[in-house]
Symmetry: D2
Subunit: 360 residues, 4 copies
């Protein structure tokens, strides 16, 4: 069999671990297999740039961060548009696929990338998706690889801030990745012992945030730690239309490089507290994958190989009840999993006294 | 309300995180609560040794390994026997419970400890169990806290061995905790990229193990890594009666401090390879809990508090499909969850070419 | 004997480890000793706020980040001015010292704090200084505690960025603490494998920086990593008077929250490359101390106790040729150790091809 | 120029970092250079097995544990003996060196390996040594690379044991690498907060050890941690002749796999305490190098390249007063640096109350 593979979108940990799982299992299950690794995501498929991957290429990469194939962000919208030279990208991908006589294409990607994967599936290619993203925002799976490794990095940041915060007596804001979905912030906030957790799905009231800080101060706590997602918005902002919100955020960005800096200024003005901002940024995508992700990625990879052997295509591998299963790409493409404000984990966090800034 | 709490059995990470969850949530949900922490597990309950725990006692312990209450191994069998002074331990525990006018007792424990918890429940005490153990071998829950933190430590050991093994060209054996259940070895073995994984549930054939090593050597690999559980047994041993096996293991122990040393000698004799043994031992119970465990423990603690508020007793908190729920102590006491040789994860490991030593 | 102790200035790792060394050794060497821990640095000494520290207070804090006594930044200049109520701070400190009949005061502090320590020494108090700072910029000692732990955190950030940078093909800027001195940036840059290292002591030419990036790109490297100290300045800026520079930096701050963002914009404009900024910020002061710092802090603490026993005051403990010795506070107060552009380590970095942005 | 390079002896962290330093600097300083990497240490030089190393071979290996060239232990004694086929190894090495028309050979090695390096130097080859070993026992340099990374691993083990020990109330013994020299045990013991540190250079009295444990127990401590070097010996053993000692240790080895197990039994018998043994073993040689080692190794590598350019041979790179310098191989070959019982660091440890088991 002839199998193509690519990694697409923002990179994360365990991309290599997943490819190792796919590659080792394919060589093991099929014996006779040719694997083509496309460079820099869909770009490689469009422009016919790849390298043949031998059995040995999949050795020694289990713990490596990043992706040995490179990746690129190629938004779904962009995929459907011709390139600068007028090339039809979808047709180009189909052409490369057929030229190499591929039996299937394995795509490691998040939301946008899997939308493209579904498109290719609809266009007649045999496609298998693997759920990649630090955001864990993919519909149809309990987990995505990369998530717990990013939680680790973000939690480490909060841990470090914790000791320094306790020494000085300040408010610290840690900005965690997540433009639309707050799961990473929620988990890292819980794991790091944040006092206030602000996520896009639960608009916050600045007064509730400041009240929580004041209460902690009044009860003798020397510091407060706020974990805020990049895309957190206030209650007022949540009432705007999409267009109005976009405009407002663009305005804000002129004064503050990100949401954390804006919040810091508001808290300083309202409470007089000294506020410090930390932005772990892209470190959340890097470093070695944690054991959870390594096991999960390895399992996903093995099952992807099994699906290829079974010639079961048009699906994404998925975790359900601790077992790896599949869901049709068509069922999940373009859908998001988000923080449910009424979910158990949010309620549990509130039981401990953690504020989401939504108290009346 | 008046709540007792204790940590029992082998210690693990996230015991303090769980108690923090219970304590913070109790103070938060009930306002008026008295919490009594019994020292060194059931011993404290038997001999009336405890300390009252204030709200502040639960602050700053989220990331601390160990248990601030101490623990002890008090096997179920021992609990039922009178102590050296003829004291009936069960009656003593009931006496302490009543003397302190407790409304309930929260037990953080593993298999044996929850058996005792169930006994106390049957004796009329209000008991809530929290699933603690590095082995993840508790029936009735998808996960126990401590497991992923122990996986982290064991995986780190394999990671370190990996680089040194690659430099020298040897066989390395890493012995991982688990006398009856191999889940910890299975997960750490997968996460660390072990070539051979030996667990109690899948008896191994020494010839299959050596064959795998020889195959790797023949294909140019400079080294092989074996992850073996403390309680792994050979196919021959698996055919013995329980009594015969016990006798044989006692004999073995005279010559080898543990199973890894025995296996090392066998491999050296059969293959001529240079073999090295590493025993991370009790480090697997120590260090800071990983984020997974911190989140999970916090959730368990919050739900324990909620159950207390609801006066729902005689249950163990449990993870099912990512939600925290409860199972009756009576349903799970004394039952083990083990590695299922036919489970998805074992099959997936085999797809990658990992040997469990059971090949024909 | 009666000994006071305080931690002053920006916090860092190993403050607790050092106090543990002082406290354990004092109890051990003197048997009969009373130790008074002043709260929040000099503030506690000024306003007579302290707690008596028992032998057990020094147990279990070796690995804890932060400081159990709290700290505050009280600049030397501020120390010499009366407080809001007209209180003479220096007199107040002397008063507290005498009221408690202290035999000596141990100050864990950096540059400013040791200047104050020297002042108190000149005023007749018995003072011993311990060299604390993540910047390693204290004159008169080869090393300060906190430095290598901060290097670890900053290096981890660069490590994480490395894997993500390699996947995407971008320029990444990591901003590392250090307003006046670039030692932390230099060491973390070397340890993390940065391609360009910019420190205050070696003004950079933006064209040299961009040239290095272009060269790397031309030779097939997919990414470049810049480690920049908070206080790095360009060659043009280095020619300004102190007053002019201050004004310019204030202007810059209006457009960019910090130097890294400014550099990012310049590089983007000049090279067209996609640039990302990461600011580990206060995480560099937090987390557990690395073994180097623990050993060093323990040694410093023991020798401080020995000096107290010998009644040798007016000195700072110092590392010279791997031995702990002392230097007079008067000799080092107010002096800085900086990156010497002609030192071995800078030359060695350049031999590897690392750019400091000062190439002609 | 034509440069050979090899890594010899027990592997450790930062071997790759050092080679990266050498390789990058050579390409940078000389432009025109050919580098030959010999496989598996001196074996590769003897049997003419090597690979040519391009500039790109030195990229991306800064943080990798192990050695990309492989290594082997080839004792000095063995080097001087003919091999199984009667080959004169020294002549074979000279032959390979000349056949490849090398200008010099860079050897990354410890004591034994540098003795061989010196022999080759005496035989007329141009040799440069780099001080590699986790033991830091090389004469003529303040530090060796690998040491602080091994300290990190060993300290992590003690840290993990600390939390579990505190929970249970036991004596824990951690066996740390070091057959002849106890520096690694001393530093890890100090960094991990061990209560008792036993090293080969300070023979211990089992009664002093047990007395210390009893004292801690009496003063309310729940546990004691012993850090023992593999080669630690008792006072009685220290009085034996070398031959007698060898015989006794061989006897001991029949009953106990290592010194820690023997000590455990003695303590159990004498104190009745429950004792647990942990043997981190080869993990101490593995994993990523810590920043200290990365910076140090990079500097060593750069200076090795500079020496080659200057054609200064017959030397080992060495750290003296934070600068990299050189010492003649002839001056240091075969000499050991050990723990000086009268050194500052040992005295400081004793000031804190740490026992070395040598108290009268």
């Amino acid at each position: 069999m002839r199998v193509g593979i690519l990694t697409s979108g923002g990179d994360c940990q365990a991309l290599n671990a997943t490819m190792r799982g796919v590659g080792k299992s394919l060589y093991n299950l099929l014996g006779d297999v040719e694997i083509y690794g496309f460079l820099d995501g869909y770009k490689g498929l469009i422009y016919d740039e790849y390298r043949k991957m031998e059995r040995s290429d999949f050795s020694g990469i289990l713990t490596e961060g990043g992706t040995i194939l490179g990746t690129s962000r190629t938004p779904f919208k962009q995929i459907r548009e011709p390139d600068a030279n007028g090339l039809d990208k979808v047709e180009a991908m189909k052409h490369t696929y057929r030229k190499l006589r591929l039996d299937c294409l394995v795509v490691l990607g998040g939301n946008g990338s899997l939308k493209t994967a579904n498109l290719l599936s609809e266009e007649g290619l045999n496609v298998i998706g693997c759920p990649k993203t630090i955001d864990n925002d993919l519909y149809g799976t309990d987990m995505t690889f990369g998530f717990y490794s990013a939680v680790q990095v973000a939690t480490n940041a909060i841990d470090c801030i914790h000791t320094t915060a306790a020494s000085h007596g300040r408010v610290f804001i840690v900005e965690i990745m997540g433009h639309k979905v707050g799961l990473l912030t929620l988990y890292a906030g819980l794991a790091g012992g944040a006092d206030i957790i602000l996520v896009p799905e639960i608009p916050y009231d600045i007064n509730a945030v400041c009240k929580k800080i004041a209460e902690r101060h009044a009860s003798g706590s020397r510091f407060s730690i706020v974990a805020i997602a990049e895309g957190a918005i206030s209650k007022d902002e949540s009432k705007l239309t999409k267009k109005e919100l976009k405009k407002k955020l663009a305005e804000d960005r002129k004064n503050h490089p990100s949401v954390a800096y804006k919040l810091a200024k508001e808290i300083e003005e309202k409470t007089g507290a000294e506020v410090r901002v930390t932005v772990p940024g892209h470190t959340q995508r890097g470093g070695q994958p944690v054991p959870y992700d390594r096991v999960f990625a390895t399992r996903i990879g093995a099952e992807a190989a099994r699906m290829i052997k079974k010639e079961k295509y048009g699906v994404m591998l998925s975790l359900k009840n601790n077992e790896i299963t599949t869901v049709p790409l068509a069922d999940i493409a373009g859908k998001l999993k988000t923080v449910d404000p009424d979910s158990g984990i949010v309620k549990e966090a509130k039981m401990l006294g953690i504020s989401f800034g939504d108290e009346e």
